[in-house]
């Protein structure tokens, strides 16, 4: 029988509960958002005892469905003040699922600030253990020490120094498959600080004696799973590494950072704190540059962990991750280096050094920071004159202040909006207080609608409308068109469904093109749950409605569904356009 594990940090107890019937169709984001809606007072202090952290694997996580090992982490965000779901790969989601747990709930708060704790979850048991030895420790060291102490190779998630200091830009880290990098981040929205507010550093999950969750209708589940595997392998974006002796799958060869040059060519790559739409140094920090570095280092150091086509969790067949090596030693520098991270810490800061961008990423991973928030914060600091655009070494030193006793570190930890307010910079790209990622909404307006109206704050993953817009197809005018409400709503709903399944959002690339792939994905969910009435879009809309309702009760109004003024007044070169979507159009997204 599936269960929920509750860890109460007020009375220091743990309790296994039967998974409620009313939640039986829910997983991942649907479950975290529903439980936050049901259990967290919308107006509560995000870093206080009434907020909760809900940790949930997706519906088919833990099964042999391809690329389905995603973990959702939910709560009230200290960065946006609204509901939040952030998700990641890593080891923990599948291990929680194999232990028969649908969710782990962290609630309450110790009165004493003297102690730190880890949570150790095993088959049928959960313990709150003293963790003062881990406090203030860099996360590369921490994950190594945890595996020394627990030889079963557990999944580890939690917060780093940034979260322990209750910084709004603190993400939730996760160890990778090899346990050599804590870079599997549910990064956005400051949920790392919520974990820190409960005096928890790490949640350690050992799935010894666990079992794969079983499908109710195994035949339908298997049929769907096989169709999805075939589609993922066939598609040019998610497909195999090589075909006919030539590079094939874009994600396996170049990772998500294949986009660096592509979005640059589209003229939609925000550069130097969102002042320009192209960056001359894009190629140097691109996925192609990483691919070449990996090949070069592997030739020199055959035992180097350097890799592209790297899986973010066991069973992922998309393998968009990578392991970036130090060129001079072959040792791991960081894993992974993704597009939005390379953009935030590179392009947006005018930094074109692959080494320094990777090092900044490593600092984020070590301290427990969201890379998108950190990059935007550095760019705002550059705009404030605290350091110069393009100065990689200075940016590394600046970011490291987060881990020091310097008050500047606390300001950096506030995120881009907070630092901007401290230094009088109003040119801050955010929505609901959360920094925007690597696609400028002036030339790509649908993504601007998603940024503005999505319940999660500025976040591309909640409705990735890049596809139809850059393509300029399907009977609509081009991406400059301003009637984007329907487009954004459809993508937001579908995304909310995929985020609930446990499947990686990147299966979307294949299921958008290959009809049998999308059919297979839905069949696998219907088969697993034993319910053929599941409608993906309707399911996703239900999730969005709950999230919007939570935000409304937290005090959000239409005014919060807007982008900063400069997007409407400052044309972005080279297309020299502004964000012209009207407030009325933005309000149409969820008006019914």
């Amino acid at each position: 029988m599936p269960q929920i594990l509750r860890v109460n940090m007020s009375d220091m107890t743990t309790k296994f509960e039967e998974f409620p019937e009313k939640y039986k169709k829910l997983g991942g984001r649907a479950l975290t958002s529903t439980m936050v809606f049901d259990e967290v007072p919308p107006t509560c202090e995000p870093l206080g005892p009434l907020n909760k952290v809900i940790i949930a694997p997706g519906i088919v996580t833990g099964t042999n469905a391809p690329s389905s090992g995603r973990l959702s982490v939910g709560g009230k965000s200290p960065l946006t003040g609204g509901i939040k779901e952030a998700n990641a790969g890593g080891l923990t989601a599948q291990k929680i699922a194999k232990l028969g747990l649908k969710a782990v709930v962290l609630e309450g708060q110790p009165k004493s600030k003297d102690k730190w704790f880890n949570i150790v979850i095993k088959k049928g048991t959960a313990e709150i253990v003293d963790a003062n030895d881990f406090a203030g420790m860099g996360l590369y060291e921490l994950i190594g020490k945890v595996w020394e102490k627990y030889p079963s190779k557990p999944g580890i998630i939690g917060c780093g120094i940034a979260g322990q200091k209750l910084m709004r830009s603190a993400g939730v880290f996760g160890n990778n498959v090899e346990n050599n990098d804590p870079g599997r981040y549910a990064g956005r929205g400051g949920l790392g600080a919520v974990i820190g507010s409960k005096r928890i550093i790490a949640i350690i999950t050992d799935d010894t004696d666990g079992e794969r969750p079983a499908a109710v209708n195994k035949e339908l589940y298997d049929e769907g799973r096989k169709k999805l595997v075939a589609a993922l392998n066939e598609h040019a974006v998610t497909g195999v590494l090589e075909k006919d002796g030539k590079p094939y799958g874009g994600l396996k060869n170049y990772g998500t950072n294949v986009l660096q040059n592509i979005i640059n060519e589209a003229g939609a790559l925000p550069a130097r704190n969102w002042r320009e739409g192209r960056f001359d140094g894009a190629a140097k920090i691109s996925g192609e540059a990483t691919h070449e570095l990996v090949d070069k280092v592997k030739a020199k150091f055959p035992d180097s962990p350097a890799q592209y086509a790297h899986a973010c969790h066991p069973g992922c067949i998309i393998k968009c991750s990578n392991v970036v090596p130090y060129e001079d030693t072959g040792k791991l520098q960081v894993s992974p280096l993704e597009y939005e991270t390379a953009w935030a810490l590179g392009t947006n800061c005018g930094i074109d050094s692959h080494f320094h961008v990777s090092e900044l990423n490593r600092v984020c991973n070590d301290l427990g920071l969201d890379t998108i928030e950190a990059g935007n914060t550095i760019a705002v600091a550059m705009e404030a004159g605290l350091l110069n655009f393009g100065d990689g070494p200075a940016a590394v030193n600046f970011l490291k202040k987060v881990g020091s006793d310097s008050p500047m570190g606390n300001l950096i930890g506030l995120g881009a909006l907070g630092l901007g307010q401290a230094f009088g910079v109003t040119h801050v790209a955010h929505c609901k207080g959360q920094s925007l990622p690597a696609y400028d909404p002036r030339p790509i307006r649908g993504i601007g609608v998603t940024y503005a109206t999505g319940p999660q704050g500025g976040d591309h993953t909640q409705g990735y409308t890049i596809a139809p817009e850059i393509l300029q197809v399907g009977g609509t005018p081009d991406r400059m068109d301003v009637n984007k409400a329907e487009l954004s709503r459809a993508f937001q709903a579908t995304t909310a469904f995929i985020d609930s399944t446990g499947y990686c959002l990147f299966i979307a690339f294949a299921i958008l093109d290959i009809a049998s792939g999308s059919e297979g994905m839905v069949q696998s969910i219907q088969g697993f749950l034993g319910d053929t009435s599941i409608d993906a879009v309707a399911y996703g809309m239900d999730v969005l409605k709950k999230e919007r309702e939570f935000n409304k009760k937290a005090g959000f109004t239409k005014v919060d569904d807007r982008l900063p003024e400069f997007f409407q007044t400052e044309p972005l070169p080279p297309h020299n356009v502004v964000f012209e979507v009207s407030d009325e159009e933005l309000d149409k997204v969820f008006e019914n």
């Binding site: 592509i262 190629a283 399907g474 958008l512 009809a515 879009v537």
Partner: protein, 113 residues
Amino acid sequence: MIDVHIYGLIKKKFDPNASLGDNMIIKLNHHDGLLLQDVFKELDLSQEDCGDCFVNGKVIKRDENPEIKDNSRVAIFSEGMYLLCGGQHLKGHGFITRSAPKDYDYFHLSSGE
């Protein structure tokens, strides 16, 4: 003149020592009526060797052959290098397994459709 930005492994065709992490810009003379296919021909490139192609910030579909104006910026990516999105079939990359959907229903997941 027009600038042609080359990305990915096809760089090696023009310079075997070229780095994938550096810009490669080939300057071509412009003439009235210059078409995109003329650019491919002049560079001795086949579209099948290429992924996405942009002209002045706009994705060009495989079946399009637009006129290239003077001072244009053309970008050609190697095979396997695409804008990360569904919709490759709509760009003519040969992954056609469904007809062009409505603009907002790309996933075709709603049972009501």
